[in-house]
Symmetry: D2
Subunit: 271 residues, 4 copies
């Protein structure tokens, strides 16, 4: 019934409207990856990926199945920040484009010892690699979301008992020149909050962290500024965006602060 | 081209597999509603609705467009808990079924004055009406999600400085016999936390609430037990489920407690 | 217990790290709005809003409660694209900043008559207004997500029976100079798919639309190019991004195409 | 500062309101698991887990950190349906409760060859294991979400060109007595749609599947009834719920059908 010889390559026909498209691809594509892990060589993750290329004004459609073939070829090897660059160049060749874009998002685990009882348990961090290849220029970035505790300086200053505090989420995207471990980014960011977050805490750990946060009150603005100072000092980190969303315990909406460095993300409103 | 006279009613043809289906309908259907408001007669909301009926073993398909026609007929009138019963009986008649199910979820707003500065602002609560008509029996319920602050008793007891606290979400579903305002349910639930949550707070209000929560430490278990005691005392409230999810400020996962009364939801795992 | 006179304005104290922040504000704030409606003067919607300002390097924190007061003052009046500009200028004044940003997202309803049976029912469109005021320059935009049917040209060309088709979502953000109705944007976008989407369809309407889509096969690339041509012709529409996500019926991932015009969103990767 | 000896076990103190709670635990806890894989011994997945126990009326709180310790102990071993039972008994012992509940949800991958070109690629399926131990009785279940294509019989019957079709999602929960592979459940469900869904399809495969779906039109009701017949025949499958949600290409809402067998989930409205 299906005759392969007679089939038309409709994608290769001319476009009705001649316009170059800056991005054609697939979205919300799930795949397992073996991400380079500082402690264990690789960590198996489940990534959600978006891939895209630019499309010449004379070509009607991109051959989307080639993105899936490409991903199949990479998912078994150790995946690093460096792999993103190779992936983009390979994508550009297979899709016959001039530009290429890829984004991989995944939950990444890192063991943390509780501060006093020293019991280890995994904490999850939503992370990602991304890259954009435009003609001769490639930018590769790391994306990280790190939960921290934020404790309100104003509430502490004006209250007799305690201070409101809450889980906050610190999000960064940083263009990397060279090599940076995900673990390195996470540790750098974890120190920006009033205190860190753990999966496993015994009574004494909980007391320790409660005290620590109370001694270290921070607005979202403080968190973002402190983080920004650290990111700027890091040699491999180039342009970045850093933001903090704090799930205020006294409101049903969230507090927010963001800063950026360089021009790469200068129009990115929120992420 | 389209000839209406010749069209087959494929839904009315016999089913290949003879099996009664307990639920056939539409999901994720959005519609505006005018919900009865205690203070302002009606409040316009945007509901997401699921509708369904049982389907006789001899009928291949339900006529799904009738659900949309039904919703169109109700969306302009004042919608109360009582309307859900009428809606279900109407649905059963139009769909020629014996059972009927409807669920309406929406954000509902209630003005709250900040505790000291007494400035009014709207707080949003995710609410809903639902109902199930099975042969001669109808159950109508209210669903409410109310944000509160929870402050950890263990952290307060063992720490020198403050106590970890966070936003928590108290969720209930309660079968109602008679009439209960959404506002009444919300107020009843708001009192179960360590302190309430507001949209607009000035410095003095923030200090007041910080102190209040600190004087009133509660585990998720305490919140659910206190709420359960209040719900049981209410004459119009019959079977219910009450749960509390607390977005712990020291963890990246949530604490959870739930209780139920009566048998209506005795197998509902989580909601 | 709470002594208002003695309270410190901690936000107004100097920042430990002197860095101007490009955005400080609140996120995920819900409020009801009365949006200007072409047919009915106003339509009540439930918006999720993000507000932000830049923060001087010498100021530790922004006074976030002022955003809530601002929103309270606008929610009762007829809200138009023009209101966004006023809102931004007002925000800048109250927050004593030089820049201001606002984004309002909401489900908006528009009645549509089914194509043959001519029965009216509401269709929901996820829409939004947004704006950015940077010193002397203000940009105001409309955001629209419109569901359409996409029918695959390659599948039609190579198959004997039918062609795979699916729901697709066409998303645009367009900077507006002057006045454009939400309804105008929606109608313009609805015509870019293989066929339109309705809430209420009778048998003859379903057949009509099935035929229409089959006669009008389109890749996501075709949809975006046709839409781009229409957007460019519109005098009030300036810079824009247009994208189409198609929930492929033969895959568990989505096809995607995007184009942009002008430089306003030239680094926005996906939205 | 933190003195472990003096710390109070606040959870072990008596409850202010004496009420047994049917469920206390943690939710949205992420952990990596090594799930038993039919082809490759184990598959690393990233699970989101909910754990809970009942709480005696005299005890104020559960010791939530024990859930995290428990999960840490299981995550390195091969995790099967059988492991869920062991996990529940272990949980009951560590938490000193009479009942125990666990739910693990994860994306699971299975390679599929495209139907004609026979190219292999991974397809993702959202799956899960769950279990409930109530005194002497344990029920263990598998949860599966399988994407399929649904092609509308009414649209085919009444249209000249093609038929509307779309991605649909078939969801089941089935209590298992004995052993069933995730792969076995997935394959059984995949056959219930108009055609199957793949990650990688070349032109000839797309044509083949387009034809196949066109020859096999199915309402959501047909899909659920056919699946129900298969599930009932399977010896290891006991009580179940099966539902299909179809993302209609001609609407912005979804069609839905559900059936259930046995009494275990007889009040579960939707999932």
């Amino acid at each position: 019934m299906v005759n392969k010889e007679k089939m038309k390559d409709v994608q290769d026909s001319p476009a009705a409207q001649e316009e170059e498209l800056h991005r054609v691809g697939i979205r919300d594509f799930k795949l397992p990856l073996l991400v380079a892990d500082r402690a264990n060589d690789t960590q198996p993750v489940v990534a959600t990926a978006n891939f895209g290329v630019n499309l010449d004004k004379n070509q009607r459609g991109a051959h989307l199945s080639r993105f899936v073939e490409l991903a199949e070829d990479y998912r078994r090897s150790r995946f690093t920040l460096h792999s993103v660059g190779e992936f983009l160049r390979d994508m550009r060749e297979r899709l016959e484009s001039t530009n290429a874009y890829a984004r991989f998002d995944f939950d990444y685990f890192m063991p943390k010892d509780s501060p006093l009882s020293e019991k280890a348990a995994l904490v999850d961090f939503n992370c990602g690699f991304g890259g954009l290849l435009v003609e001769d220029k490639v930018n590769i970035w790391i994306r990280t979301e790190v939960p921290v505790t934020s404790l309100c300086p104003c509430s502490k200053s004006n209250s007799e008992g305690g201070a409101h505090n809450q889980r906050a989420r610190v999000k960064t995207r940083a263009v990397i020149d060279g090599m940076v471990w995900l673990e390195e980014m996470i540790e750098l960011i974890e120190n920006s909050g009033s205190s860190q977050v753990y999966a496993l805490l015994k009574r004494e750990d909980e007391a320790y962290l409660t005290n620590e946060a109370y001694e270290n009150p921070k607005f979202v603005e403080d968190i973002v500024r402190d983080l920004s100072a650290s990111l700027k000092e890091h040699e491999q980190i180039k342009d970045f965006v850093a933001e903090c969303v704090s799930y205020e315990s006294i409101h049903n909406h969230n507090a927010y602060a963001a800063t950026r460095h360089g021009t790469f993300w200068d129009r990115l409103e929120e992420f």
